[in-house]
Amino acid sequence: MTPVDYLLAQIVNGLSAGCIYAVAAIGYSMVFGVLQMHNFAHGDTLMFGTFVALSLMLAGVPVVLALPLAIFLGAAIGYAVERIAFRPTRGAHRMVPTVSAIGVALIIRNAAQSLWGTTTQAFPIAIPASTFKLFGIGISTTQVAVFVTACVLMMATQFFVNRTLIGKAMRAVQQDADAAGYMGIPVNRVVSLVYMIGGALGVAAGILFSINYNTVFLMMGFSVMIKAFVSAVIGGIGNIRGAFIGGLLLGVIEALTAGYLSSGYRDAITFVVLILVLLVRPQGLLGRPMVVKV
């Protein structure tokens, strides 16, 4: 394998991991966009939904039914998180919803631990894992399927937010929740809907993650959420396209680190990148600077 091929292979690996972060980051970023609140239960919602998908499939439910069911459950958890952790604390100090979200996340994680234990399990979806050669590097069909699904999800979300009436309501709530309420937009329902979409996208990302790495484990929620968070910040938080680009970038950076430096320090590099981005360009690549006014 020539050095160029090695580099290309690492980039391909990075893109397939990165598009998973991207899907999780879109959900995360949308939820942040609507109320400017970080949803720290995103990761555990994602993990729980993926475990449900696993159980459904092990119980013999066909894949075409099991995955939508799990994603639907992700939406339901997203709704519950909003009702329990965010709605009662709206208008309070920013630390309050952050903490209640962490609390809900811990409860979800414990529920998953009681139901499925702490062992790592294999994910029973087998896309026939044939590899084909493109420009001299092997690409597996799994990677292609994951990448295509992620792109479709991104475009669907983008379409929904920019081209539909509900999407317009979401953008209105994001710009000014009070004014949107005066205009007759049902703010609470819109916020709930955004959290549901966020949960559903999270579970979709979790399933993609499990298909790509053939593994489901308890702490995957935390690690994917952190990656989603970092991707969203790199791209400009609250921005769907930015989150997608950020996710892809992060995936590639990570793969290159693992390929050329050391796989042990992969997560460390993620955070070094994050800290640099925050120090140099806090609003992210596509974000606009935030101005604090008195």
Binding site: M30, G33, V34, Q36, H38, A85, P88, T89, G91, A92, H93, R94, M95, V96, T98, V99, S100, I102, G103, V104, A105, L106, I107, R109, N110, A111, V161, M170, R171, Q174, Q175, D176, D178, F222, I226, V230, V233, G236, G238, N239, G242, S262, G264, Y265, D267, A268, T270, F271, V272, L274, I275, L278, L279, P282, G287, R288, M290, V292, K293, V294
Partner: protein, 348 residues
């Protein structure tokens, strides 16, 4: 210049009685509690009990550090496990490789952790609130990966077994009761020092930074300096706790300093009371006491921590004995609205 100003401003430190600034029923209560805790080993000889109590004391110190950063100065940090780990590894390595007196080791461990705290706190100057939260999580992960991967120094995943026991004034500390006394002494000193700091100008500046950073800056308070100071003090306390746990368990390993430890410390501070020293200790007693004394609960720890966090936040957001008012929104509605002449933010 800075030092001189610092000295002038804090001249009052040390000139008044140690319990100045404590509310009336509190200091006699604290004093009685301290006497009772000193006398306890004379009555009970249960090694297990003292193991639990020592753990609670160590976690109280750790949580006090978190409270300095989050409760007193209002910085949302979530990486206390990193400072805890730095203190523990420093202390373990120093006592394994060098023959130094323990107070020196303790000071070096606290100092290194404090320096790490200032380094992490530096982004706090530019990055506010939620991002700081992420940066501190990230820093804790980086530190944990360093512990895990720097095999030559830290022993990698195996950690460092056989940390030698503390030798203090020619006496080797061996039993749980010995470490109970050591931890009690450290906690008492930390509490007195913190109460004194809180009652000084530094404490009031912390409060000003916490309540309204812009107003504090406008009033001439060096916000940067006080944020870094809070991180330094908080991290140093974490380092002290780390040093104690390393010698108490005679072992350090990367599994002891994970995100879970940061979560627990955060929960202690939140449940006990943001910005409250007695509250922090109460939180540690409640949470660590429950976890350590009822071993059957090990599968339900996350439920307990989660329910405590949600419950506290919904019922009394600043915690049981909290001194911080958390009901005011930091960013008033509409503050982030773009100016009228710009096109509206269309970022979703």
């Amino acid at each position: 210049m800075i030092l001189q100003r610092f000295n002038l401003r804090h001249r009052r430190l040390g000139f008044t009685v140690p319990w100045a600034g404590w509310k009336w029923p509190l200091w006699p209560l604290a004093f009685l509690l301290l006497i009772a805790m000193i006398g306890l080993p004379a009555i009970r000889h249960d090694a297990y009990l003292f193991r639990i109590l020592t753990t609670i004391l160590i976690w109280s110190i750790l949580a006090l550090g978190q409270n300095v950063i989050t409760g007193f100065c209002g910085q949302l940090s979530f990486g206390q496990a990193a400072f805890y780990g730095i203190g523990a590894y420093t202390s373990a390595l120093l006592s394994i490789h060098f023959d130094l007196p323990y107070p020196l080791i303790l000071v070096v461990a606290a100092g290194l952790a404090g320096i790490a705290g200032v380094i992490v706190g530096y982004p706090a100057i530019r990055i506010g609130g939620d991002y700081l939260f992420l940066v501190t999580i990230g820093f804790a992960e980086i530190i944990r990966e360093v512990f895990l991967n720097w095999d030559d120094l830290t022993g990698g995943a195996i950690g460092l077994p056989g940390v030698p026991p503390v030798t203090l004034f020619g006496m080797t500390l061996e039993t749980n009761v010995h470490y109970y006394y050591l931890s009690l002494a450290c906690l008492t000193l930390s509490v007195i020092a913190l109460m004194r700091i809180l009652d000084s100008d530094v404490g009031r500046c912390f409060k000003a930074v916490r309540e309204d950073e812009l107003a504090a800056r406008a009033a001439g308070i060096n916000v940067t300096f006080y944020k870094l100071l809070a991180f330094g003090i908080g991290a140093a306390l974490g380092g002290v706790a780390g040093s104690l746990i390393a010698h108490f368990l005679a072992y350090v390993g990367p599994d002891m300093f994970t995100n879970w430890e940061s979560t627990i410390v955060f929960a202690i501070v939140l449940v006990g009371g943001l910005g409250s020293v007695p509250g922090t200790i109460l939180g540690a007693v409640l949470i660590i006491g429950t976890f350590e004394s009822i071993r059957q609960l090990i599968d339900y720890r996350l439920y307990i921590a989660g329910l405590l966090l949600v419950g506290t936040v919904l019922i009394k957001p600043s915690g049981l004995l909290g001194a911080v008012k958390l009901t005011m929104p930091i960013i008033p509605p509409g503050a982030e609205e773009p100016p009228a002449d710009e096109e509206p933010r269309n970022i979703l």
